[in-house]
């Protein structure tokens, strides 16, 4: 029965275009989830579940099989009106092909870094690039200040400039071991390994349960997980 449905699916995929019926919607299921599974920490069924999430997000504004910046913001913040220093940076880091739109592979590869089981080095690298706002290969004091101010502003927390400067001073004292006023990749790595809570936002426990949150129906699954 299951095989029968799969075959019907295959047939329709070939038949519809022949009938001149072009599907403007993205494929209902992935052709090759194993490829994505091999490049990420996800299992095949997790990749399929992730694809369900991807389909949902990528069709909210334009149903074109890609997540554009607006759809990304909508998914994250439930509003497309939010200007954010960070949202732009996160999107740019996901957008490895620089097309201003995310395909499924880019989406999955980026989210792989956020899986609780992903290697910590990947999280360290991703977060460094995230905070290196001007992409200069190091994190400057001014960038840190902008980020602290942006973070405080979004929750309406009021800290005086003195307190903020003090926090940043202490951070650089500890992190900037070369005393050059910047935090480079090496210094960031040392800091993050010493204070794992700094990488707290680099892990999403939701990714562990993704197959239950986004079930992709059994008859689409191509492989039985061992």
């Amino acid at each position: 029965m299951v095989q029968c449905l799969e075959e019907i699916g295959h047939v329709l995929d070939h038949l519809l275009p022949c009938l001149g019926i072009k599907s403007f919607m993205q494929p209902r299921r992935l052709r090759n989830p194993e490829k994505v599974a091999n490049e990420t920490v996800f299992s095949v069924s997790e990749v399929e579940a992730l694809y369900e999430l991807f389909k949902r997000i990528s069709s909210t504004v334009i149903d074109d099989g890609l997540i554009n910046k607006e759809e990304f913001q909508l998914a994250l913040f439930k509003t497309n009106k939010k200007e954010s220093l960070f949202a732009d940076r996160v999107f740019d880091l996901f957008d490895t092909k620089h097309k201003n739109a995310l395909g499924f592979e880019e989406f999955a590869r980026a989210l792989s870094v956020f899986h609780p089981n992903a290697p910590i080095d990947e999280k360290i690298d991703f977060s460094f690039e995230l905070y290196d706002l001007k992409q200069q290969g190091f994190i400057e004091r001014q960038e840190v200040k902008s980020m602290v101010v942006a973070t405080l502003a979004e929750s309406g927390m009021n800290l005086s400039d003195d307190v903020i400067e003090n926090i940043i001073d202490k951070t650089f004292e500890e992190a900037d071991t070369k005393h050059d006023g910047k935090i480079d990749k090496e210094e960031w790595k040392t800091l993050a390994l010493r204070h794992p809570q700094l990488l707290k936002n680099m892990s999403l426990p939701y990714l562990r349960d993704i197959t239950t949150s986004f079930p992709s129906f059994v008859f689409y699954s191509q492989v039985e997980d061992a």
């Binding site: 913040f77 439930k78 995230l130 602290v148 405080l152 929750s155 800091l191």
Partner: protein
Amino acid sequence: MNAFQLIAMSRSLDLSGLFEEEDAAERKTRFTSVYPAKDIVHKIEETVRAMGFQVQRKNSRLNLLHIDPKSKGDRHLSVAAEVFEVNPCLHVVELRKSAGDIAQYRQLCIKLSSDLSLQKDDNMWREKGGITLPCPCPCP
């Protein structure tokens, strides 16, 4: 507190929004408090117990659970409370709803933030409900 620890708390960097129905702004609340950490924790425990919550302390975190005997398991309100030190005079309290009714959660946040986040006054001593707070450092 490390600047990056503060930055890591940013809602814009919290990708869990991709998986959540509600906006992160609705599920997470942060406010500052000039009470010492111990007093904050004590005050939270006292307040929520009076509201019928169970409290479980885990390292620097409090897990608050409100069981509504009339409703099923997944409607119980479950909130995590964490206290972070900015400096000895200033702490950030973060409340995060992990399950349950958003309206109930909001009520809890309003109560706790109004109890705990005081305005600093001119002299260095603050009193509320019998707890006297000396300020050990030159506070801004």
